[in-house]
């Protein structure tokens, strides 16, 4: 099986020769231009032969569309600093306007993905990372998460206007990616957890904006919904139009098999994300991989981390997971 056939078969619940596997991690020094991000992603691919690629775009790229500026990092494991925020305060979200998604930092991300495609060929599925509008909003101002949650309770209509503007831009970006031959989007939210959002808030501030973006690219074969964090409101996402769910199998969240059976969709997971994975020995990671494949029977399962893994994760660990999967063939 080639990688594309393996990934698509896993998504559809068809037999696979082995469970597909991939990782994603920041290299803060190599995500500051399309070429650097492409080179780093291709380097990882060549080193570890992953079955699909999620280029790890710099987290600020969405906020940059509205004027955020960062001080680029020159070190692999050191996060960039924000030089300038797009907004001074949350209330400005109420007058935010949609912007041209075919320009700026988002054009740069797509350019990187096309360079990766040219280097790895059509056999390797590639997914574009997109943050949910609510998550993107938290990157627009200094005390992002707290400010957004405060606005959500004090002036929900203003927040909704801002989310619509962000959403329209990101939907355009998503469409551009799929039209350019990218296989799907890795659509992430970090706020849909029990401590942060009520069910009603999730339905008001996540759902309509999420669906507008996901519906725009629903024909793509490899859309992944990533619900980040512990104690997520996973049930709020189970009817989303995606072919794969990704989340952390940590306290308060469903197991891989439970979520697969609940949603009828494929699941991406089985391995710890950051920071736990950074401290693991290869044998322990191999055991995680084996246990998760035993749990799912390898059915509708793509092996990957709960969330992105530590920048600078040792090669030995990444090779170990790949080897464990190869042994399950």
């Amino acid at each position: 099986m080639n990688k594309r056939a393996r990934v698509l078969a896993a998504i559809r619940g068809e037999p696979v020769d082995r469970v597909p596997v991939s990782f994603w991690l920041h290299n803060y020094a190599s995500e500051n231009s399309a070429q650097a991000l492409a080179d780093e992603t291709v380097r990882l691919y060549q080193a570890f032969d992953w079955d699909f690629l999620k280029p790890q775009s710099r987290a600020s790229c969405f906020a940059e569309m509205w004027g955020a500026q960062i001080e680029s990092s020159t070190q692999q494991t050191v996060k960039p600093a924000t030089k300038r925020y797009a907004l001074r305060e949350a209330r400005e979200l109420g007058v935010l306007q949609a912007v041209d998604a075919s320009k700026g930092a988002l054009a740069e991300q797509l350019q990187a993905m096309l360079a990766i495609r040219a280097a790895v060929g059509s056999d390797v599925p590639i997914v574009a990372t997109i943050f949910a509008p609510l998550m993107t909003a938290t990157y627009l101002m200094p005390d992002g998460r707290n400010d957004v949650l405060r606005l959500l309770r004090e002036d929900p209509a203003a927040l909704e206007r801002g989310l619509a503007a962000i959403g329209a831009t990101l939907a355009d970006y998503a469409r551009n990616c799929i039209a350019a031959g990218i296989d799907g989007i890795f659509y992430a939210t970090t706020l849909a957890t029990e401590p942060l959002l009520t069910t009603a808030e999730c339905r008001r501030f996540q759902r309509p904006h999420d669906l507008a973006i996901l519906d725009a690219v629903a024909s793509a074969p490899f859309n992944i919904m990533h619900v980040c964090g512990d104690n997520t409101r996973f049930d709020e996402f189970v009817d989303y139009p995606v072919s794969v769910f990704s989340w952390a199998t940590t306290p308060g969240n469903p197991s891989l098999a439970a979520a697969r059976d609940l949603t009828g969709r494929a699941v991406l997971g089985g391995l710890p994300g950051k920071p736990q994975i950074g401290a693991m020995r290869p044998e322990a990671l191999v055991e995680c991989a084996r246990a998760s494949i035993a749990e799912t029977g390898g059915h509708k399962h793509l092996l990957g981390p709960d969330c992105s893994i530590n920048p600078g994760t040792p090669d030995s660990l990444l090779r170990a997971a790949g080897a464990a999967v190869a042994q399950t063939a």
Partner: protein, 328 residues
């Protein structure tokens, strides 16, 4: 117990003051008129003191808006409507299906009917919106060509199912927003004859789950899967995220007792073979009732026909059945 309390207790597998029940039949003469259909259905429910109401839309409401042409002329002569022009003939047609707005057209008509039905029966009686599985809709819009297309161009069919699912999810959310307690989710293609289990899991299950989760997330608490036909893919469908199962009990496997013995705990809506109701064979219906009640041990059971009762229905027969149920 109120009707809602009785239904909710049955769905929790708890004892009820008496067994809850429901009946439904086609109303082909009036099912294009949302007001009249609601009026007649509500009156039917009130006369028979039904514990829940399953909506009885014209079954083509889910395909008309995509452009299927339907000939209803036989209805006046006791026949059924028939699709005379299908919109999907070639695999390429799947991607041409429009992302419809369910507030308009035949779906909009059905939503108006549901809102009126809920208003007429009042908040004390749960109303189920009839919603079809995306694969069943695919069958209807393509005259069964979906099977060939699955073999020849599966991606095209999947793209069409995606569009159908989006629209069906929207319709479902709107139906729950109208006040429906849940959906009666009808799948007509989930049989071993139509698809093997692995194929069904691939082309139907993910889409079905999305619709059922849309119902649940919109507030639906009484979502029922209707497994139409013989030799259904029971092992797949019994795992669906629903509140109760409905299948052609007595006409096809499994028996209720077998389902329970295999560890199945979901409540059951059904237990009455509709053929005996239509033929007026009360002794046979009563045997069904006794068998169902014995096998289910009076828990987790809402007595109902396995499928729609043929039109026209003799309400005297239904009343006799209801008297028997109430006397249990």
């Amino acid at each position: 117990m109120t009707k809602i309390e009785r239904i909710k207790a049955a769905l929790r597998g708890e004892a009820t003051d008496r067994l809850p029940y429901g009946f439904w039949t086609h109303m082909p003469d009036i099912d294009h008129d949302p007001q009249q259909l609601a009026e007649v259905t509500a009156a039917f429910a009130q006369r028979l003191d039904l514990d829940f109401v399953k909506s009885m839309p014209n079954g083509f409401y889910c395909v008309e808006d995509w452009g299927c042409e339907i000939d209803f002329s036989e209805i006046a002569h006791g026949g059924a409507g028939k699709v005379v022009r299908h919109v999907v003939n070639d695999p390429a047609d799947w991607r041409k299906l429009a992302v419809l707005n369910p507030a308009q057209g035949a779906m909009g008509r059905e939503l108006r009917h549901l809102a009126e039905l809920v208003r007429r029966v009042g908040t004390g009686v749960p109303v189920l919106a009839t919603v079809f599985s995306p694969l069943t809709i695919a069958n209807k819009v393509s005259n069964g060509a979906h099977r060939t297309h699955l073999a020849n161009d599966a991606d095209a069919l999947m793209a069409g199912l995606e569009i159908i699912t989006q629209v069906t999810c929207e319709f479902t959310r709107a139906a729950i927003a109208c006040g429906c307690a849940g959906v009666f989710f009808a799948t007509q293609d989930a049989t071993h004859q139509a698809f093997d289990e692995a194929t069904y899991r691939r082309v139907a299950e993910p889409f079905d789950h999305r619709v059922l989760h849309a119902a649940r997330n919109a507030g639906g608490w009484f979502n029922v899967i209707h497994m139409h036909g013989d030799d259904v893919l029971f092992d797949v469908l019994k795992q669906y995220p629903v509140d109760a199962l409905n299948w052609h009990i007595g006409e096809t496997l499994p028996a209720i007792s077998d389902y329970r013995l295999s560890g199945g705990t979901l409540p059951i809506v059904g237990g009455l073979q509709r053929g005996y109701i239509t033929s007026g064979d009360l002794a046979a219906v009563f045997r069904d009732i006794d068998l169902t009640v014995t096998q289910a041990q009076k828990r987790g059971i809402i007595l109902a026909p396995a499928c729609v009762i043929r039109h026209p229905v003799d309400e005297n027969i239904l009343q006799s059945i209801i008297d028997k149920i109430k006397a249990l």
